[in-house]
Every structure is written in structure tokens, then in C-alpha cells.
Amino acid sequence: MRSLSMCRSFFRFTAGVSLACLATAAPLRAADWPAFRGPSHSGHAADAVIPKEPKMSWSAKLPGRGLSSPIIVGDKVFVTAADGAGQEKLQVLCFQKRDGAPLWTRQLTATGRTMTHVKTCVAASTPCSDGRLVFALWSSNDLAAFDLDGNLVWLRGLTADYANVSNSLGMASSPVVVGKTLVVVIENDSESYSLGIDTATGRNVWKLERPRSANWTSPVPLPARDGAPEGVLLQSAKGVLAVEAATGKKLWEFGPSASSMSSSLVEGGVVYVPAAGITALALPAAGKEPATVWNARQVNPSTISPLLLKSRLFSVNNAGILTMAEAATGDVKWKLRLTGPFSGSPVGAGDRVALVSEKALVQIVDANAPEGAVLGQLQLPLNAQTKELTLCTPALSGGQLFVRTDSTLWCLTE
């Protein structure tokens, strides 16, 4: 038994070391799309190329429903899903990026409520990654961290912790990693919180009571600048609150209201808040409040999150009108009617914007054209029997464009 004990001690030692390693932030790769709206959290990727006329490269069957975006880390694509009569089977699936070969599937059981509006589903929140771990959140408020090979690192059942955290329409906020903190928004009409969670252990670093109001927006990282520490922006119907990512301490706030569906973006020292159309705020120095740069009511992102691409701000409404405005002024330069309706947000790279309608029509827009122009389209097949829709925001990596429906993960290339 002594040798067994030594062996066991060795396992414990190595496990401890690996856990300690996990606490060290791993650099994300240039081609990674590690969260909702990509590495910039603004919808664009610097190194990606959107295919002008997209064609199907590969597809992979998915076992459960989902409208969360795929994320890409290294040579892997990660997708969440929910299956079962009550969507109680929560899944994380990993595929090989180059050909869609399935690598692993993990399944847990929902510990919180799984009721949602029929259009959305339990796998609505896009997972995120720090380059070493993948963090998956479902509408049941189950939160799991896996390494890239599918080994469980930690678990939380946030409804087990906070019994009245839920939304009968479904939760949908996507978590985000800022430094060593995973920021999770579980705001709703009843027990309403935002949490800062240690990425290595899954334990709370901070917990903020938040407005008791349904909220589907996602937190957005704020870069450290002018003496202000690295932060995160928490948005709700009451406005936006900037807090220090490591501590949850308030940095500044802006009110009195903002969208509870369309999320803000931060780029070049400016925060673009979906409030009264879009309101641009200059990121303040430490201890200061933000100044309003401009407000544009005619740039209305509706329920969809805006995109910022090369000093141009794009928003699409549910009906399918894509609006381009100058990011510096909010002045609308053109509007382009696309084939909607849309639920997913636009993504961009170079001079192209990619959007996918609810009916799975992929549309590539030339952002440089004087009035905007559709460069290419691709109709993806939908499962008519289940009447599935495409509600996800696409993901970009290199020359690949990823889209998912309830039934299928698609990879499109030139």
C-alpha cells in the first residue's frame, strides 16, 4: 500500500501543479475567437478573412439545441448545446477546426430551471476561453470549466447557490474572462447578481447585487488606462456600471438606462452603449466619470449587438436594415436592406461584414462600398421538420466562418 500511497501522492502533486498552472493566463492565439463577438468583444478579428462568396467546407451534426456561438481556441472549435425533453442534458462539444472531426463530448445535467421561451433555448450563452480553459454557461445557471482536452476543472450550480436566479424566458448573457476573473452576469427579475469568479478554482472573487430586472446583455472587458485598472462593463436596463475586474469595485457608471438585450462594445478608448440608439462615452481616467461623445438615436441596434470595424459602427435591426455610422461622430453614412429577420449579431474582418439571417441565409457585405453592397450569399439548409432557426452570432478564424443551428455546426470558406 505504501507504493500506492506514493503513487497517489504523486498524482496529487502533479494535479496540484497543473491546477497552479491553470491560474496562469495562457496567451490566446491570433486566430482564436474565444468569446461572444470574438477576441475584440466588438465583433471583429484582426487576422480573419471573411470569404467573399462563402462555400461549405464541412459540417458536423449537433446532438442538442443551441444558439450560443461557436468559439475557437487553437485547432479546436467548441460548441454548447442542450438536449432532452426539458433540455436538461447540457453538452459541451469539441471539434477539430480543419475538418470538423468530433474530438470529445461532455454532458452534465441541469441543476437549475430549464424553462425558456420557445424561440430561445438553454444553450444560449456563448462559452469563453482564456486559451487554456473553456468556460460554459447555460440558462439553467450551470457553469463548467474544462481544459481543452475535455477534462473537468471545476463546476458551479449557480441556482443551487442562489435559488431564485432564473428567467422564465431564459437567460442568455455570455461570460467573459478578464485577467484571472471570469465575469458571469446572472441578472433577472428576482435574485440578481453579477459574479467575478476565479478562473482557476471556480470560487467567487466578488459578487455584486444588481438591478432586479431581466437582463440578457453580456459583460465587456475594459482595458486598463490612465491609472484605471482593468475593468469590466456590466450593462442593464438601468445603464452601465464599470467595475474593476479583479475586485468588483465600482469605477464609474452611466445612466439612467440602456438596452437589456443589445450589448455594448469598447474600442479605442470609447464605449458604445446601446442606450437611446447608441451613446458613445469616452473612457474616463481613474476616479473620473465618462463624458458623452455623441448620441445617435438613428443607430438603433434593437435586440442585436453592434459591430465596430475600422472606425465604422454597424448595427442591424431585427427586420434586416444594416446601418453604417462613423464611429467618431455617430453620423449615419448608409443603410442597406438585407434579407432578414436577424437575431444573431454581425461580425467583421477587413472590409467585410458577415451576417446570418434566422432563415440561415449567410450574407457578406462590402463595408467599403459607398452605400454598402452584398458581395455574396449562401443559403444553409435548415431542418424543416423541427422548424429550426439560425439565431447565433457567427465566429471567425483565419479564413473560416463558423455558424451553428440546433442541428448543425457549419464551417464556411472561400
Binding site: F11, Q107, T109, M115, L155, A160, D189, S190, N204
Partner: protein, 381 residues
């Protein structure tokens, strides 16, 4: 879990470098996770050992599942998930027969049986499917569902009396709303009567009182007469004057108690509904509630749960409230608040509540609050 089964299942030779006792200790660590991530560090370390212990650890994983909580169960489930995954990829032998036996043994805990079934389905989908078709009367609803789906499909392929009998057989075991609806519709087309409120166990006869105030949505936290007065008076001071209990019986197929009918459509209002449930024995039950208004539920004066949410959606069995009924009369009190919204989709001020076991099988009260009462008499509490 029976010791003999556990021993036959436990293949210590497949535990690489660890003894069964070591794995047991690691599994214990998985079950020690607590609120807000307490114990995660130790569990994370232990999980690797359990997941790496091979198929021989599955018996121990199953043996602890269902004993300490749903979050701990997921740690165990994911360990089992990975053990099977690795065995499949490496060509390792999995204890399929033992998993099947474990599922069939209904004395095992529900969560453990469900995990055993899912692991079997992961390892051998055809074997799991064949097993599932035999689980028509299973106490675990998620296991029963597949067998019932098969019964419904088989009935649909029949005609005449054979079809009717097949649907009647299905009605005996069906529990989920969607499947029950399909069976009921088929039987009604054949001229059969189906009592859905009875099938589900909805309480349809209540005493109702209101309105009390809910201006600025303060009624949810406010304690009005019916929830603070254990003796229950016949009249209380309401929002606009004295209010008294009224008998109300719902004819809705899904037991919806619509306060807009007895109290008229109101806003900023709170109402209560009370029913007596006569239980033959002291036992665990589930009160299953559907409600799109803010609500609270008490049983015998003890608050079970409440939720301050308005008009986000309602469905049958939206909330499952476990409680222990005593033998004899049990008082169920429901508080239901309507808010200030005026959109057409905010008109509903209602709830539906049924009493059942964990499978969803209806438990019917052996008497009613209304029994033996004159229409205008005060209910006997």
C-alpha cells in the same frame, strides 16, 4: 446499491496505480463540494484520479450518485462520462451488463440509475435503446419517456379497438404533458373520455380571497391577512375594503385558476387561493406549479418557495416544490400578485398547481374543502 452487485462490478485490476480505497476517497471529495464553489480545488484534483481510474471505478461513481446533491452528481457524472469515453477510444472493456442490471434495479437511487442509463447509451446506444423500451412503468420519468414514446407510436399504427386499447394502455403510464396531450387527443377522437385534471392531479377547487394591494409591486413582500393569520378569518381588509373568501372551481383542462374571473381583471393586485389536501399517509410529494405572476406557496403554514417575476412565461410543472404532507388534512396556500403592466400579454393573473410524486403521477386528495359545505358557508379550516 446492493453489495453483491457492487463487488461484481468493481474490477480493481483496471484501477491504474490506485486502490479501490483511494478511488473511494477521491469520490468522497467530489461529493464534498459545497456552496459557491467550496471544495472545488480538492474536487478538481480528485476528479482526475477518478476519471483516470478506468471502468472499474464506475460502480463507485454510481454508488455515490444521488446521495449529496445535484452539483456533486455532475462531478460524478462527468467522471463517468470520461471513463466511458476513454474506454471506447482505447478499446477497453466496459461493464455493459452490470450497467443494465443497475438500471433495472429500481431500489437504486433515481439519479444513479439515470447516470447508469446514460453511460450505457454512451457506450452502446443499441443496448440502451432496447433497455429503454422495457421501462414503461419506470419511476424515473426521464427513463420512462422513451418507452412511452414507443407505445404511442405503436398505437398510432393500429386501428379500431386495438388502437383504442393501445392508447388506453399508454394513458395508464404516460406522465409528460406533451405525450399525455397526444394520447388524450387520440382517445377523444375515438369517442373516449379523458379526465386530464384528474390524470395530472390538478387541484381545481379553491377558496379565493382578494384583492389586496400590489402597488409598486410591494405586495409580494407584504404580509396580508391570509399569510400571517394562521387561524384564518372569514374576512380581511383588502385593497379597497373588506374582502372575504369565495369558492372557485376551475373547469380548465390544465387546472388554471384565473383570478380575473372571480375578482374581475385588476392591476396592482394580490390574491390568495387556499385548498385542503387530504393525504392517506404522511409522505413526500411534489407540488408542481405553473405561474407567470409573482407567487408564494405555503403548505401547512410553511413557506415552500416564492418568485418575484412577472409575465416571463408560464407552463405546466414550471416549478417543482418538494414537501412532506402529513396524514390527514393539509392546507395549501398560494399567493399570486398581478403587477401594473397593461400590455395584452400581461392580462393573465393565474396559476395551476398539482400534487404528484417525483414521477409526475397524480396524487389525489381523498376529500375536498367543499365537501359537505353549503355554497355560501365559510370553509372549515
Amino acid at each position: 446499491m446492493k453489495a453483491t452487485l457492487l463487488l461484481s462490478f468493481l474490477l480493481l485490476g483496471t484501477l491504474p496505480g490506485l486502490s479501490g480505497a483511494d478511488v473511494q476517497e477521491d469520490i468522497r471529495r467530489l461529493t464534498q463540494v459545497g456552496p459557491e464553489g467550496a471544495g472545488n480545488e480538492a474536487a478538481s484534483e480528485a476528479w482526475k484520479n477518478v476519471a483516470g481510474a478506468g471502468p472499474g471505478a464506475l460502480a463507485l461513481v454510481l454508488g455515490q450518485t444521488g446521495k449529496t446533491g445535484a452539483v456533486a452528481d455532475n462531478w460524478l457524472r462527468l467522471a463517468g462520462n470520461v471513463i466511458v469515453d476513454r474506454a471506447l477510444k482505447s478499446g477497453g472493456k466496459l461493464p455493459l451488463a452490470e450497467l443494465e442490471t443497475f438500471v433495472r434495479e429500481t431500489a437504486n437511487l433515481d439519479a444513479a440509475r439515470l447516470l447508469a442509463f446514460d453511460l450505457l447509451a454512451q457506450a452502446d446506444p443499441a443496448k440502451a435503446k432496447a433497455l429503454e423500451l422495457t421501462l414503461t412503468d419506470d419511476p424515473v420519468q426521464a427513463l420512462r419517456r422513451g418507452a412511452v414514446a414507443h407505445l404511442i407510436s405503436a398505437a398510432a399504427a393500429l386501428e379500431g379497438e386495438a388502437a383504442k386499447k393501445a392508447y388506453q394502455d399508454a394513458l395508464r403510464v404516460v406522465r409528460d404533458e406533451d405525450q399525455t396531450k397526444a394520447v388524450a387527443e387520440a382517445l377523444r377522437k375515438m369517442g373516449e373520455t379523458v379526465d386530464l385534471p384528474k390524470h395530472f392531479g390538478f387541484i381545481t377547487r379553491w377558496d379565493i380571497i382578494g384583492p389586496f394591494d400590489n402597488t409598486e409591486r410591494k405586495g409580494f413582500d407584504a404580509q396580508f391577512g391570509p399569510e400571517k393569520d394562521r387561524a384564518m378569518a372569514s374576512k380581511y381588509e383588502g385593497k379597497t375594503g373588506k374582502v372575504s373568501w369565495k369558492q372557485y372551481e376551475s373547469t380548465d383542462e390544465y387546472g388554471k385558476i384565473d383570478f380575473n374571473k372571480p375578482l374581475t381583471p385588476l392591476k396592482d393586485a394580490t390574491a390568495y387561493a387556499m385548498a385542503s389536501f387530504e393525504s392517506h399517509e404522511e409522505r413526500e410529494v411534489e407540488l408542481r406549479l405553473g405561474c407567470k405572476n409573482a407567487w408564494k406557496v405555503w403548505v401547512n403554514g410553511v413557506l415552500l418557495f416564492g418568485r418575484d417575476e412577472y409575465h416571463r412565461g408560464q407552463r405546466m410543472d414550471q416549478y417543482k416544490l418538494k414537501c412532506r404532507m402529513r396524514q390527514g388534512a393539509n392546507t395549501i396556500l398560494v399567493k399570486c400578485c398581478q403587477n401594473e403592466q397593461t400590455e395584452s400579454w400581461t392580462a393573465e393573473w393565474e396559476f395551476q398547481l398539482r400534487v404528484c410524486d417525483s414521477t409526475g403521477t397524480a396524487l389525489l386528495s381523498s376529500s375536498s374543502l367543499f365537501d359537505g359545505l353549503k355554497p355560501d358557508s365559510k370553509p372549515n379550516r
